[in-house]
Symmetry: C2
Subunit: 200 residues, 2 copies
DNA sequence: TTCGCTTTTATAACGGTGTTAACTTTTATA
DNA sequence: TATAAAAGTTAACACCGTTATAAAAGCGAA
């Protein structure tokens, strides 16, 4: 008798309905006004049911953070496969990162904006490490054999990521200021500058 | 009779006590757990008194944002005076910006972290425009007569600012990762790369 | 089928938040 | 001294996250 299995499946369904209801609220009202009570209302269950699936509101946000990183790393790996040359790969990753941020503003804001993932929470997200790995590997390929072969790769990764994050968040702050074309030009400018500094 | 003046002075004192009480709370517990009620408790007044000085909690946060920009622009102008050469000036401003962010983590997080100042709120802060002006002017001095004299200065400003903000916020996310010396090295690296791209 | 046990779900409360309406006290003026 | 204005307080409203407690439902054994 697949009784316990059916129950498991039903539980899973409720869990998913919680997440989709939460996501709809985030899309229509933003992260700040997301509330457990409104989720309960939307899925037509009482509040404590939510707490039998998630330990706290933060746990729900963490789940979305995880999802966000999963998406991001998926798209980045995909774009990394397209380019053979490390230099072009770094350019492609940058474009993908940028695209992700503005295709998924809510995700990006949760992942890096408010909340500010501390070292503890961020390190618990496996996908974050993958993100770091893909880029670090590419940088390594780029500088191997060059004049900067002895550079601290982790520091270089941080610089690269900083450039991306900085450009994205400044663009998000005043998104009316520059056109999309201008902004991607800035992105290209900054990244190519970084790449040049690595191989010269 | 300096009666109305005395009252004005007393009102001002209460206003200041609100801000200092709020600031103490922020220092000890962070922005998220700052509350009107706790402020009222600290200054030994009832809650509505606070609302006779500030229209809302956001108004209090806005006041601190203003203060933050005031400090930042003050320190930046000071450091800009030290250096005559535009290239070194940009280096100095970057160091000052970095220093400000980590000397005043709470300010920086309020100004750029949570909340994410939208274009509307940010533009109402006069000091923000000054910030933009000082840097834009310096960039202009740097590229005038060079091979990039026709570059879009505003875009270049955005790139510069993005580099700074990116480095600072990534450093804040995992502040245990790199030593201060390494981080300022990264800062120098990134900024000098930017400067080179402007004059070559 | 009915009893009892376990799982699931709901009600209601606790302590907290920002905000404001209504009331009281103090203060200064005519 | 009466009166109008200012200052301040109490208490409420409508929320929030979280949880203790009670009710309902589902299921196995008698």
């Amino acid at each position: 008798m697949g009784l316990v299995e059916r129950r498991q499946r039903q539980k899973e369904e409720v869990r998913n309905s919680i997440l989709t209801a939460a996501w709809e609220q985030v899309l229509s009202e933003g992260w700040t006004s997301l509330s457990i009570r409104k989720i309960a209302d939307a899925i037509e269950y009482s509040v404590p049911v939510i707490y039998s699936h998630f330990a706290s509101k933060d746990a729900i946000l963490l789940e979305f953070t995880r999802q966000g990183f999963q998406r991001l790393i998926g798209q980045i790996k995909e774009s990394a496969l397209c380019e053979k040359e490390p230099a072009e790969r770094l350019e492609g990753i940058a474009q993908t990162y940028w695209q992700f941020a503005f295709d998924n503003r809510e995700y990006y804001q949760l992942m890096f904006g408010l909340g500010i993932p501390t070292c503890e929470t961020a390190n618990h997200i496996v996908e974050m490490r993958q993100f770091s790995e893909v880029i670090t590997t590419t940088i390594n390929q780029l500088i191997a054999g060059g004049p900067n072969a002895d550079a601290n790769v982790y520091l270089k990764f941080r610089t690269y990521w900083s450039i991306l994050h900085g450009l994205v968040s400044i663009q998000m702050i005043d998104s009316t200021a520059a056109t999309n074309k201008q902004s991607t030009a800035v992105l290209h400018d900054a990244v190519s500058g970084f790449v040049k500094s690595l191989i010269h």
